[in-house]
């Protein structure tokens, strides 16, 4: 008796095919219907995850800072994010008169879409990947590059020279850190021999000492560091902090559009953690085969949430890096380390 | 250097332009003539046995006698030395008709803001101040010089009703 969801998915598949067949519609309708159901389920799950993560960030930061965080709304404030979302929905959407309306409107849409689209290839559990394309990790890196466009759109569309400068600086930071990010996973790709996400999970054997984090510790460290920079979180959030001092790319956004940027940041955090779990921590596999009675998605969520916690931990512990140190760090430290990692991994794969 | 030694040295070098004020305080208090003010300040910083290199503050004061006539202004400098441990108070008398004084921002750069403050609160002019501007008051302030005695007040000011006995 297992709590795995494969049985549930098969049952849904049979029901949908049954309905489509009984209505006499072509097979393609069945595929489309299933796809829409999967997308709906995924988006539903991600929205709940985003709300959960925002609550969790507030609690984690509060406890690190020796205070309590939200306590009044529900048990330990768990409905706080829902309350905040409802509040934001009621806010007036103010757009500056001189702003470029189309660009201003589409920027948060783009960032949110890119963020959601990347989840299509994340293996949430055994048989729980929305679609297992054979270039999974390449697809993820391609889609997450969209955030750069949306930041530039946000900066440009506000028609505010400081918003534009803030947007450009953030974009420069993200582009710089994409290089070590992509290179750091090359070691894992060399060891696994595949780009498919399910392939990564299955090539890390069922024992935790076979997970890729041990031979690829440097790759993991580079990945987490570069990913924190990609997310614009402290210690790499100077462009965001300078919004406090001067202006930033999202200064002209209010209400739900601001919430979109905010939610996208948290979902991106979860995505980064999910990818790191898949590549380095064995995905949905338990540390020892004996522990397989705990369903695979629980393992996956547990590992991802632990990495999310680590990323949050960084934010509340370290001060910020200055912009030139930030760029210098990406190009002069992380990039050579990533190359060294690839070289040594290739050597190791060849020898063993 | 003690108070007497400082006073003796200053009288020796600048005798006719300064006037010692007798007080029971341990620091020398003295007046210097308006024309010799900047030169005297330079001398105070450059003389190695005096070495008053720290300008503690520079402020104005407005004196009126009982009838409201006979206005006099003072500019008061409090100086200290970081090498020797002495302090002194230097004052310059200014007549009400000619409220201009040389600037000491070339000698102590901290005097910049103090002179701006004296300019806008008392109306004492420092013609060669490097960048005169408004400091504490509004940019469009034209209701007089607030720190002067008998300032007529801001037209929007509503005073407290005088119901209680005086605060003597």
């Amino acid at each position: 008796m297992t709590l795995e969801l494969k049985g549930l998915l098969d049952w849904v598949y049979t029901i949908v095919s049954g309905i489509v067949a009984s209505l006499g519609l072509p097979e393609i309708i069945r595929d489309v219907a299933l796809m829409l159901l999967v997308i709906a389920a995924l988006i539903g799950f991600l929205m709940i995850m985003a709300l959960f993560l925002i609550w969790w960030e507030r609690k984690v930061s509060a406890h690190i800072q020796d205070r309590l965080g939200p306590m009044m709304t529900g048990w330990h404030g768990w409905i706080q994010t829902v309350a905040d979302a409802l509040k934001l929905l009621q806010k007036e959407d103010i757009v500056v008169g001189t702003a470029d309306r189309k660009v201003h409107f589409w920027a948060p849409v783009v960032v949110f879409t890119a963020c959601l689209a990347a989840f299509a290839v994340i293996p949430f559990g055994k048989g729980l990947i929305p679609t297992d394309i054979n270039i999974g990790i390449l697809y993820i890196f391609a889609i997450t590059s969209f955030t750069v466009i949306s930041l530039l759109m946000a900066g440009w569309g506000s028609n505010n020279k400081f918003a534009l400068l803030g947007g450009m600086r953030t974009a420069a930071q993200i582009i710089s850190y994409e290089v070590p990010l992509t290179l750091s996973v090359m070691g894992v790709i060399l060891m696994a021999g595949t780009l498919s996400m399910v392939g990564f999970v299955e090539s890390q054997g069922p024992y935790f000492w076979k997970w890729y984090i041990w031979p690829q510790l440097a790759g993991f460290a580079i990945y987490i560091t570069a990913a924190t920079a990609e997310l614009n979180r402290t210690p790499f959030d100077l462009p965001e902090a300078e919004q406090e001092l001067v202006a930033g790319f999202n200064i002209e956004y209010s209400g739900m559009k601001f919430a979109m940027f905010f939610l996208a940041e948290f979902l991106n955090m979860f995505m980064v953690a999910a990818v790191a779990t898949t590549l380095f921590l064995g995905g949905w596999q338990p540390p020892l085969p004996g522990l397989a009675f705990v369903p695979s998605y629980i393992w996956f969520l547990g590992k991802s949430l632990f990495l999310v916690f680590v990323i949050m931990w960084f934010k509340w512990t370290y001060p910020r890096l200055r912009v030139d140190h930030l760029m210098g760090f990406a190009w002069k430290v992380l990039l050579p380390l990533a190359f060294l990692n690839i070289f040594l991994t290739a050597l190791g794969v060849y020898i063993f | 250097m003690t108070k007497d030694e400082i006073e003796k040295q200053l009288v020796k070098d600048f005798g006719e332009h300064i006037e010692i004020q007798t007080t029971d305080q341990p620091e020398p208090f003295l007046y210097v003539a308006k024309e010799k003010y900047v030169e005297f300040c330079k001398y105070l910083t450059e003389n190695p046995s005096l070495a008053f290199d720290f300008l503690f503050q520079l402020g104005g004061a407005h004196f009126v006698d009982a009838s409201g006539q006979g206005e006099k202004f003072d500019v008061i400098l409090c100086l200290a030395s970081s090498k020797h441990k002495h302090e002194m108070v230097l004052k310059v008398k200014l007549p009400a008709e000619n409220l201009a004084l040389g600037t000491v921002t070339g000698i102590w750069r901290v005097a910049d803001f103090y002179e701006l403050e004296a300019m806008e609160l008392y109306g004492i002019k420092f013609p060669d101040h490097p960048h005169p501007r408004r400091l504490l008051l509004d940019d469009d302030w034209d209701y007089g010089y607030p720190m002067r005695k008998g300032w007529s007040g801001h037209p929007d000011f509503i005073p407290m009703p005088d119901k209680s006995e005086s605060a003597e």
Binding site: V246, W316, R320 | G59
Partner: protein
């Protein structure tokens, strides 16, 4: 609002940025107008005066005792030293002998308030640099000091505790053991803050060798207190011209070596430890006796006086002209932040705007002191 003619020397590729007067962190209402060339600051003009309350003019209409609550508000983060400056000046003017017990109590309160003021500085500086957590830790410790003050005089921020001739009330009996408890607890907490910040590579990269202040330039700009001691100038008024029995305590005035932002940070951290030492010694050696000298009810001093003390931010002093009536004729208040605001332009030019927050934090400027 005017840009104060900073654009008079603007070149083609420079632009003007306005910082403030509203800030997200607790800097107070200061407006800085910067002329920037790319990332670098080429010129800086502080626009002050948002918090001007004309305290000097008010002083001319209050008696010497009635002016005491106003001194609290000159620097409300450190209001015991502000009280102390006023009473020191008036007692020097009227030659009043303060009983020893009152002097020791004044020292205890001033040093506790120095710790509280440095905690605010620590919190806001690390918040500006992006380390969010020391801010809350510092305020947690500060709550304990404020509890001590509330026990003594009923107030948490502006105490009005000292009187001309002594202090206003005797602290309750449980004050002294709680003081000792606090200093023991606090020394460990300073180690925590140091572990989080002092040798953190990110913090070092933000603060080491940034905005070095040479001693002679600092003196010329009127810098004093920890800002100048960080450059290596051994000048602490508590040791050079001891007042209120500071000469009876054994403490060090920490010195820096270079005068960069890191030195200004480390000097204040070490000062917090030294304050604990002073508080311990004062609590232990507290003599018996009256807490206030006899001062005539109708107090009419005459003369002029210039007195200064070591406030947490630098040197604070008064110049009082007394004309023999119950109210002073002229009171000129000198605060450390007024001089340090002028230092900001010298230090920040040719650094990046991200360094501006570090430099501003290290100077520990509070706006009520600047504007009075």
């Amino acid at each position: 609002m005017s840009t104060l003619e900073i654009e008079k020397t603007q070149a083609q590729d420079e632009f003007i940025i306005n910082v403030g007067p509203q800030h997200p962190s607790t800097h107070g209402v200061l407006r800085l107008i910067l002329r920037m060339k790319g990332e670098f600051i080429k010129d800086l003009k502080p626009d002050v005066g948002f918090l001007h309350r004309a305290i000097e003019k008010i002083a001319e209409n209050r008696t010497y005792a009635q002016f005491m609550p106003f001194t609290d508000r000159i620097d409300y983060c450190a209001s015991m030293p502000c009280n102390l400056a006023w009473v020191t000046a008036v007692e020097k003017l009227a030659k009043i002998e303060v009983p020893e017990r009152a002097q020791y109590l004044r020292v205890i309160m001033t040093e506790l308030n120095r710790i509280a003021s440095h905690l605010i500085w620590l919190g806001t500086m690390s918040l500006d640099l992006g380390a969010f957590t020391p801010f809350l830790y510092a305020f947690r410790e500060r709550e304990r000091i404020l509890d001590l003050f509330e026990m003594t005089c009923g107030q948490r921020l502006t105490y009005n505790y000292m009187r001309i001739g002594g202090v206003s009330q005797e602290p309750p009996q449980e004050f002294y053991p709680k003081c000792k408890e606090f200093t023991q607890y606090f020394r460990k907490k300073v180690d925590d803050y140091e572990a989080l910040l002092t040798y953190n590579p990110i913090f070092l990269s933000r603060t080491k060798d940034v905005a070095i202040l040479p001693i002679d330039v600092g003196l010329n700009y009127g810098a004093s207190g920890p800002t100048l001691r960080a450059s290596g100038h051994d000048w602490d008024l508590r040791k050079i011209h001891p007042y209120s029995s500071y000469d009876k305590f054994d403490f060090k005035a920490p010195l820096g070596t270079k005068g960069d932002v890191w030195d200004r940070y480390i000097v204040r951290i070490q000062e917090m430890r030294q304050c604990c030492n002073i508080v311990d010694q004062a609590v232990e050696g507290l003599p018996e006796g009256p807490i206030k000298a006899k001062v005539p009810a109708v107090f009419k001093p005459k003369g002029e006086v210039f007195a200064r003390i070591e406030a947490p931010r630098g040197e604070m002093g008064y110049y009082i002209i007394a004309d023999g009536t119950t109210k002073p004729y002229r009171v000129k208040i000198r605060t450390a932040s007024f001089a340090h605001v002028q230092l900001l332009k010298y230090l920040a030019v040719d650094w990046k705007i991200a360094d501006l927050v570090a430099i501003f934090g290290s100077l520990d400027i509070v706006l009520p002191e600047v504007d009075r």
